[in-house]
């Protein structure tokens, strides 16, 4: 009998490990995930720059009015709020910041302007997105760029290292009300903001979606890339729930993808 109780105890412990533990009062999906379906949007949405957190519209307004708002950096680690670039990488990024307004070469144009899929983490500090939770998966669909991301929760093996994806290859798990996604296989062709922050396809991201309450989500992404940074660093975005309205079609079209038509000053392939 004692043996049987012990076995039962082990079984209960195993079930507890395998099943996400939702906080009291939190609705759950049929597969046991905390139910976080619905639309979400960053409170301060915009990808002009991470440090300080600023949207393109805010940057434009600052340049017109000359009044600079003291927005904090999105970077919460290192404590100084700056991305810990290696010197060569910091130089690249600094050069781009000087020319993004008046591009003269194809690479001066921000990747979002070209309609690339911005991927993680950039898509979590710009548009509204919706979370869907079919059994065993978390699916993100983004209102803009017709981008989506499917994250399996079943612990399946990684895809081959030579496959590079705009959204990377994420593997997720629930830790209570926090969704943890570890992402590799990043294409890393899109940048992190207009002023040129970047990583390479060597990068790995660990994201933590902390569902604080039914209306509040704290997003944290820790980025490691030994080729570019001196140490891993973390950014944070405060996100709130939105009314669950229909997303309209948002198609980036050819003219925007085409270097020649994006700026008359660009001396790119096919330029007149």
């Amino acid at each position: 009998m004692q043996h049987r109780v012990k076995t039962l105890g082990v079984a209960v412990a195993l079930v507890a490990l395998a099943t996400p533990v939702a906080a009291q009062g939190q609705a759950t999906r049929p597969d046991g995930q905390p139910d976080v379906q619905g639309a979400w949007r960053p409170i301060l949405a915009g990808t002009h720059s991470l440090d300080p957190a600023k949207s393109g519209a805010a940057d434009f307004q600052e340049r017109i009015t000359g009044v600079v708002k003291p927005n904090p950096s999105r970077i919460v680690d290192p404590p100084d709020g700056h991305i810990p670039y290696q010197p060569w990488a910091a130089a690249l990024r600094k050069n781009l910041e000087a020319v993004y307004e008046n591009p003269t070469r194809p690479e001066h144009l921000d990747t979002q302007t070209r309609c690339f899929v911005s991927g993680s983490p950039r898509l979590y500090y710009f548009p509204t997105f919706r979370i869907l939770q079919p059994p065993g998966q978390v699916v993100f669909v983004f209102e803009e760029y017709h981008a989506f991301r499917v994250v399996p929760l079943d612990g399946r093996p990684r895809i081959g290292a030579d496959i590079k994806l705009w959204m990377g290859d994420g593997r997720g798990r629930w830790e209570g009300n926090t969704l943890v996604i570890e992402t590799t296989n990043l294409k890393a062709k899109a940048r992190l903001d207009v002023v040129g922050d970047f990583f390479t396809d060597n990068a790995r991201i660990v994201e933590r979606f902390i569902f604080v309450d039914p209306k509040t989500l704290t997003y944290e992404a820790t980025i490691t890339d030994e080729k570019v940074f001196t140490r891993p660093w973390t950014l944070r975005v405060d996100i709130r729930r939105m009314p669950d309205e229909e997303f309209l079609e948002w198609a980036c079209t050819e003219g925007e993808r085409d270097a020649v038509h994006s700026s008359s000053g660009i001396n790119g392939p096919g330029a007149p």
Binding site: E107, R114, F116, W166, K189, F198, E254, R257, G270
Partner: protein
């Protein structure tokens, strides 16, 4: 009854479509009893090369065609444009120009897609240029037009075990295949998704466009479940220039 007579009766019976409310057995269902279309699917065949029957050509296998009656009923005055499209297909096909391919073409581009079925909305995620469709099954009507969307506006309803999707509000800028079969902004598509068994969807799309065709016409094909272990969507992108060498920075 003679043996030939029996065969005739059997043949006649097989032509009778199953009643709308007939329940298909052995298919996955959602908790509310609807057929569950969720999962990864793919159309195989040459519909994107040519909807009609065709002989093989370089890199294109021969195909039996997917259009009922093997004929697309163009208005006489529209045939010239079809022929002009064909002559200029290398540059004029919106596939070559990286646009979203529209409906129903996205279904048979030859890439896998994932259906995420929820009670109010069925979302379809396509590997091809990461297109997304939202099929609202919550009883809402199409928004008032005119609207010109690449993928149209999709409203679905269940007729027995068949998901029937009404799609309107298209741009006139997409084609049905690589041979230049085309439509106008008046295009109206009715799609029917019906699970024949757990791993096969019978897919039909009825095309109506009074500006271009003399009558509605229907294409039909099967969608097959991708059953490989750990199957998942990957990326297929289409961009107009050699972006890879410029980003995130040249040389990286």
């Amino acid at each position: 009854m003679t043996r030939a007579g029996l065969l005739l009766v059997a043949a006649a019976l097989s032509l009778i479509p199953p009643p709308v409310n007939a329940q298909t057995k052995g298919i996955p269902r959602t908790p509310d009893g609807k057929p569950d279309l969720s999962g990864l699917w793919q159309a195989f065949g040459t519909a994107n090369d040519n909807l009609l029957s065709h002989s093989a050509s370089k890199d294109v296998p021969a195909g039996l065609g997917v259009v009922e009656g093997d004929e697309i009923p163009y208005r006489p005055e529209m045939l010239a444009r079809k022929q002009e499209n064909f002559a200029n297909r290398a540059t004029r096909d919106t596939e070559a120009r990286c646009f979203l391919p529209g409906v129903p073409r996205i279904t048979y581009m030859g890439f896998p897609f994932q259906i995420v079925q929820m009670p109010d909305t069925t979302t379809i995620l396509y590997e091809y240029v990461h297109a997304i469709r939202y099929i609202y099954t919550n009883g809402t009507a199409h928004p008032r037009g005119p609207i010109e969307w690449w993928m149209g506006d999709s409203r679905g309803r269940w007729e027995g075990d068949t998901l029937v999707v009404d799609v309107v509000h298209f741009t006139p800028n997409t084609w049905f295949d690589r041979t230049g079969n085309f439509h106008s902004e008046a295009l109206h598509v009715v799609e029917r998704y019906r699970l024949m068994d757990a791993d096969t969807i019978n897919y039909e799309a009825t095309i109506e466009d009074q500006k271009v065709f003399t009558r509605p016409w229907t294409m039909r094909m099967l969608l097959y479940r991708r059953k490989e272990p750990n199957i998942q969507l990957l990326d297929y992108d289409c961009y107009a220039f050699e972006w890879e060498k410029y980003y995130p920075y040249p040389g990286l």
